[in-house]
Symmetry: C2
Subunit: 479 residues, 2 copies
């Protein structure tokens, strides 16, 4: 008989969110710290969520005529230098290979992003307007040698992501698809992950190094900090000029191509954990849960066989939901409840002798704890219906929180108190990087998140300085 040790989370989400978060990730076996500083191990429970995200997005990519490919992990130093802003933006975060490896050749970087190595290939592949649009995505690992403390999924030196890289004939088409992808990201966050997001444009200060404009989806965590969940960059012709991506147009003249790039990473899993989970552990929206149901028989000596028989039958019925049938006799039902709650299985079905007599089972929702009595004959339909409801309810709950968290002001004192109260604040701004820096200093960390795509017109002065406001922009603390 194993010791029934306390497997629960030892701190409350509301009291110490960083520690709570780290415990949920580890105890739900989503991820683990690696022996290499700054790195993480994505365990099977965590990787299963990533696979759900991949499956969903691969399906969408197919509809968007984007094909997957794979480009080298290593990037020659000279490639970075070709696009000056890009090189400057990444220079502190690049891990280089040892010179004993590269020998007489030039330095090789482990990719912190792949624009340069991919566009080198594109310069050879794109010849004519017939080769456009060219739309390629890659799923890969990325390395950014940051000094900041490791947070599982949220900040690590290596992470997994997808990066899309497209080439177009015209500026208009390029911009249109940059926004189209942004909307795909919003859809993914909301429909699949039940994470509501704000969409908008990054300020000049916050945009991607080398881009003309960066668009973003921003979610808002329960501790009042925004999490950037995905970005879509309109690259204009900057990289195309540096990498010589030209095509002969329908007019038989040579033109410089237009490009975008876009990505989201395993960071999404961090957002998922923080948004939905609770003091008992992980809560997953059913659509990303690999195992959607766990069946727990309540065993007493004289009814044991019957209960086990029934639980097995139910398990078979729910096989397509990857149901776990927890037959372990060395643990009590209560201990099992806690374990599967910790691991975020969306539904628990309890099968006991009294239920058996009444030809029913008890279904328990992980997000609300609600207990639903269900006739045996209706289990399969009922389970599917509850799972759908749960997916929707989780999005709505997170939506309410986001809605409550958004405020608007054009008064500095009000702005400061709202930021202090951990809100996300829409305020007029002059658009200058130095002013953004000062606001960040004064508020102990509030930065611009994004300029809304609509409702960005500002009148009067900047929230902070005396200059004329250029636009309205969301400010908040962030991850």
């Amino acid at each position: 008989m194993p010791k029934e040790e306390n497997i629960g989370i030892t701190v409350k989400k509301s009291e110490d969110m960083p520690e709570w978060y780290s415990q949920v990730c580890q105890k739900a076996e989503l991820a683990d710290y690696a022996p290499v500083k700054g790195c993480m191990v994505i365990r099977p429970n965590g990787y299963a969520v990533w696979q759900k995200i991949q499956d969903y997005f691969n399906e969408r990519l197919k509809r968007l005529n984007v094909r997957n490919a794979y480009f080298p992990l290593f990037i020659p130093e000279s490639f970075f230098k070709k696009e000056a802003e890009h090189a400057e933006g990444f220079k502190l975060e690049v891990a280089w290979l040892d010179k004993d490896v590269t020998k007489e050749g030039e330095r090789l970087a482990v990719r912190p992003t792949s624009e340069t190595i991919i566009y080198d290939s594109y310069s050879r592949w794109v010849r004519s307007h017939r080769d456009l649009p060219l739309r390629i995505n890659q799923w890969c690992n990325i390395v950014r040698w940051e000094a900041a403390q490791t947070k599982l999924f949220l900040r690590s030196r290596e992470f997994l992501w997808q990066e899309g890289h497209c080439v177009y004939e015209t500026e208009k088409e390029c911009h249109k698809e940059t926004i189209k992808i942004l909307k795909e990201y919003k859809k993914l966050a909301e429909d699949l992950l039940s994470i509501p997001v704000i969409i908008g444009k990054k300020t000049e200060k916050e945009k991607f190094a080398g881009a003309k404009a960066t668009y973003t989806i921003e979610s808002f965590m329960p501790d009042g900090k925004a999490l950037q969940c995905g970005t879509s960059h309109d690259l204009g012709q900057g990289f195309a000029k540096s990498f010589n991506i030209k095509f002969i147009g329908k007019d038989e003249k040579e033109h410089i191509a237009w490009q975008n790039s876009w990505g989201f990473s395993t960071r999404l899993i961090g957002g998922l954990v923080m948004t939905h989970s609770d003091d008992k552990g992980l809560v997953l929206p059913p659509d990303v849960a690999e195992t959607k149901v766990v069946i727990i028989p309540i065993l007493f000596e004289n009814t044991k066989d019957k209960v086990i028989e029934k639980a097995k039958q139910i398990g078979k019925q729910l096989k397509s939901l990857n149901a776990i049938y927890d037959t372990r006799e060395e643990y009590t039902p209560g201990w099992k409840y806690s374990e599967w709650e910790m691991k975020g299985i969306p539904l628990r079905i309890e099968v006991g002798p009294r239920d058996l007599e009444k030809n029913q089972v008890i279904i328990v929702r992980r997000d609300t704890g609600e207990k639903i009595t269900c006739p045996e004959t209706e289990i399969k339909n009922k389970v599917k219906q509850i799972l759908n409801q749960m997916q929707e309810d989780m999005l709505n709950k997170a939506r309410s929180f986001l809605k409550e968290s958004i405020m608007e002001t054009s008064d500095w004192d009000a702005f400061e108190s709202m930021i202090k109260a951990r809100k996300i604040v829409l305020a007029p701004h002059c658009g200058e990087a130095g002013c953004e820096d000062m606001i960040k200093d004064k508020t102990e960390g509030a930065s611009t998140r994004c300029i809304p795509l609509d409702n960005s017109k500002a009148e009067g002065k900047c929230i902070h300085c005396d200059k004329k406001a250029k636009y309205k922009v969301y400010f908040s603390k962030s991850y």
Copy 2:
């Protein structure tokens, strides 16, 4: 009107296989050489094949209760040193990170294989017999800094693979599953890729560094060289001892665990290309072809509209096969035939005005060139039936070649001529590494491929030296 330049392969497979191979890979747009020496770009057509392999194998892994996960790219030097044979085996191929990156810390390797970094985690995860068997797989990139010339898919410094790593309570269970995976690999090669393989055990000289025994699937290429397509290693307790992977057994005592590891890589795609393709370009078994059919309308001025309409209808019917409907008017049908043959689309459907009158189409098989007349009403079924037939025929054709290539002898002179005639030869051997080296020297490259799992009993002397034969083993030249 684009120039109808020659897009065909300029050398024959039978005359210059290396050049032919490189042209097929590049002209079918499977892969491209990267600007980084030794690396390759896997283009969308090539990556689509890899995805088919992944989809197939992920399905099999699920049945085998193996779950996917992701471990760090970087491995501390001290981890390699823990298993002496392993460290020795990989020391020449490891790419290290620059010391400016790792600073005061120890050297970090870019993973050449992940036993050590994974087993460090396992030593923390495995506590009790209840944690076993532990079965995890990862799909990732691997780096081995080889000096040899780059061959797309076959030899490159970075490649993609899957690596499975399992832990068991008993030696017997471990061995049983090591062989089970080997048979899964055989099934994948034969059923999905139409590549017949020989299965067996590697000699001591050729086994994986740190393994107790290595099992392999070996295919045989048309130029008379074997290609190792996947290996399954019975690791015994070597790594478990070095990494301290212990568990409390049902007997409440501490035991050292048993392990295996197994992998196949994007090299399989190289084997696929060499086995089936021809002087016109790529030939793909239908099951790994993303696009299974291309529809080409034969356009004349007065029947154009009708033909286009019919071709479109057929395209819709075959949507589930990802059919391409080639509407381009600036190319002749003949040019299109060549292009799609080059790219390995399994079936071509020609729709011309005369066919239209007869309510039929012409279906052309990529592998045989056979033209099949098919009534319009039966297209969908007929196409599926031909695709299945083609998958089977391609395996059978490759099987005949393999069968013809296998010879057996216990006479050295016969052995030498068979090797010279580029056969794969089963011969008795003493089992000593030095003797294997001498045979390799004398035959200009023939090495042991594997000891058959059955029929390995040898009598008399070694094929080469005077020692007593230990077993029969396959010899051949190899990639």
